[in-house]
């Protein structure tokens, strides 16, 4: 059985590498909580590359406006159709920011309209239980950002499977720290990341 490799998607526009600590942190959580074989380091994969299809889950983030090239758009569409899952997180955690507006528009063009994901979706119980839906981030709660809590994630579906999961809760900031620093947290805030990975690997 091949080990899971956490892949970060690279796209031509914007700042795709804005959350370099997230992969290591989620890899650490996956190894800590599950028995899944996981590669100790993540990978970076260009959305326009055929290597995209080597990964079951691709993480995409950034602050800046997103505009896919034609090749990126076609590849993302094929990736979603063929069973892959794209997890896109707005690193700005705002409601109507540049990343949010352009990413939602661009993803809609590539894979179809994003719709609200019910907070009872199996994603929220694929490993840890999140009965209230997506966990809130510190940035949402402390008023440092837009001072609003995003109640739902968005998704583009293929059948009953999530092909693209979109968050503007800024998990990229929430999970962007060295794994060793988890010991300072009373509750590990990366647990929802484990759910996303487990969901991507089982559905």
């Amino acid at each position: 059985m091949s080990e899971f490799v956490f892949a970060t998607g690279q796209y031509e526009s914007g700042d795709w590498d804005s959350a370099p600590l997230v992969p290591a942190n989620l890899i650490d959580s996956l190894a800590k909580y599950t028995s899944l074989p996981v590669a100790p380091t993540g990978a970076i994969v260009a959305l326009a590359s055929d290597d995209l299809f080597r990964f079951p889950l691709v993480y995409l983030t950034g602050h800046l406006p997103v505009r896919f090239t034609e090749a990126e758009r076609a590849n993302v569409r094929r990736f979603a159709d063929r069973g892959g899952m794209l997890f896109v997180d707005d690193h700005n955690h705002d409601i109507d920011g540049a990343f949010h507006k352009t990413a939602v528009e661009e993803l809609g063009r590539a894979v179809g309209k994003l719709t609200q994901l019910a907070n009872t979706h199996p994603l929220y119980s694929s490993f840890f239980k999140f009965p209230d839906g997506p966990p809130n981030t510190a940035h949402e709660l402390n008023g440092w950002g837009d001072n609003l809590v995003h109640s739902h994630l968005l998704a583009a579906m293929r059948g009953d499977r999530i092909a693209v999961l979109y968050s503007n809760k800024d998990y990229s900031s929430e999970w962007g720290y060295h794994p060793d620093n988890k010991r300072f947290l009373s509750i590990d805030n990366t647990k929802f990341g484990v759910n996303v990975i487990v969901y991507a690997l089982t559905r």
Partner: protein, 299 residues
């Protein structure tokens, strides 16, 4: 002195007795006489009328010259004549090729019928059913077809042969059980089977004592599952049940590390020396490679 009527009656009685005895004698003679010699050569087109004639006449010997393989009815008829005392011989006016065809339900949710046939020699072969020709092969040989539906019996025919078979009944398919760890392999195995129309039950291991499940799960037995697919070593916890399932007639596919599970050694594939292949713990090869020295320095 007998009356005239009495005389008539006696004469009539005598005549009737004589007639009855003569008839008995004739029947006895016909029953006990040796078969008459009758060597006949016929082509297959004339065989039905010849068989009817031979059935009434009971010849001592039949000689049949065929220009193509006889059908089942003709074969049975000749065999019956041979059992009734006629010596049956046959020859071919030209080389007759052997052929065989079988039609059986494919183990597929689509309900397809799988037709396999083989025809010796290089004759063109036509495959068909009651609805007409399905396919042709220009040079005989062996082939397999998967047909969505079949009407009546299936036949494979060439210039010198015809083989026919009736499709067997359909089979009832139950869900498949897929066991594996969360990952690309289990995800796509399940998705591919579902796309093919199978109902899939799965137990996907995520962590010790944590499994993601789907579909009808229960004891692993032949009444519940059509086959069990073990993708990796996570099937070890069900090894006893899987081995029993296989011994009960269930189909098991062991992929990857599942073939090295100790509890499945009785059903796992073996190499030519009769020993189960063992490649050491997972990742050992890579670990060894990573520790290799290059130019005296660790890579």
């Amino acid at each position: 002195m007998p009356s005239p009527a009495e005389r008539v009656r006696r004469v009539a009685e005598l005549v009737l007795r004589a007639t009855a005895l003569a008839a008995l004698a004739v029947l006895l003679w016909r029953a006990l006489r040796p078969p008459t010699a009758a060597g006949v050569s016929v082509a297959v087109g004339d065989l039905t009328r010849a068989l009817e004639r031979w059935t009434l006449a009971g010849p001592a010997e039949l000689r049949v010259v065929l220009d193509k393989a006889p059908d089942a009815r003709t074969r049975d008829w000749i065999r019956a004549l041979a059992h009734s005392g006629s010596r049956a011989q046959w020859a071919a006016s030209r080389p007759i090729r052997g052929s065989a065809v079988i039609a059986e339900p494919a183990s597929e949710p689509s309900g397809a019928t799988r037709v396999r046939f083989a025809a010796a020699g290089g004759e063109p072969v036509s495959i068909g059913d009651a609805a007409g020709t399905i396919d042709t092969l220009s040079r005989g040989g062996a082939a397999e077809l998967e047909l969505a539906s079949v009407a009546g019996s299936v036949r494979a025919s060439g210039a010198t042969f015809t083989a026919a078979t009736a499709a067997r009944d359909s089979i009832a398919l139950k869900p498949l059980l897929v066991l594996g760890a969360a990952g690309w392999e289990s995800k796509f195995t399940i998705a591919a089977l579902e796309e093919r129309g199978w109902r899939v039950a799965s137990r996907v291991r995520v962590a010790p004592n944590v499994e993601v499940t789907q579909g009808p799960l229960g004891a692993i037995d032949t009444a519940r599952y059509s086959a069990v697919i073990a993708l990796d070593s996570t099937a070890a916890s069900s090894a006893t049940a899987i081995a029993r399932y296989a011994h009960d007639g269930g189909g098991v596919i062991l992929a990857g590390a599942s073939a090295r599970i100790g509890g499945l050694s009785s059903i796992a594939p073996r190499d030519r020396r009769g020993t189960t292949r063992h490649r050491g713990p997972r990742g050992a090869d890579r670990l060894r490679r990573d520790m290799a020295l290059e130019n005296g320095r660790r890579r």
